[in-house]
Symmetry: C2
Subunit: 91 residues, 2 copies
């Protein structure tokens, strides 16, 4: 959520029961979508690791989402590679 002093939205969201005020240039709808995704992961990890404190749970949530980011990135890059090879073959 990049901070932009002008033309930015301030949205109240809940992550694992706590309120957060997020500021961003993105739409309120998008900011809420992102927050509810994090909330969902946080709750899931809390259930899997009830022994952990909130800091560790939040860190594991960040790691889980980063894992999904890199998995998607690898898939996208693989697709782009195949796409470029296909284009070359057609020349």
């Amino acid at each position: 959520m990049r901070k932009l002093p002008e033309n930015s939205n301030r949205v109240k969201v809940k992550i694992n029961g706590e309120d957060y005020f997020l500021k961003g240039s993105a739409s309120q709808e998008y900011i809420k979508k992102v927050a509810s995704y994090v909330d969902e992961k946080f709750r899931l990890i809390s259930k899997l690791h009830p022994e952990l404190g909130r800091v560790d749970l939040a860190v594991l949530t960040a790691i889980q989402i980063a894992d999904e980011y890199f998995t998607l990135k690898a898939e996208y890059e693989e697709f782009l590679k195949l796409f470029d090879e296909e284009k070359k073959d057609k020349r």
Copy 2:
């Protein structure tokens, strides 16, 4: 980092100065890459918001990474859409 009892790696990583032991089916190299990405974001957000506690910083780190995930996802989906349209046009 999906947990797999068998054939899983246990890797010690540092996130904002704290040690975490991550278990996953992915390679140690991959797990370390993901962790260092989270560590980098966490440190950046800590600098931007020195007034915040560790829980809030970790939650904001998760939100930041989720934002990047959705941004990449939208770009990928847009690319796939254009790719499909191009294919249709060629028929």
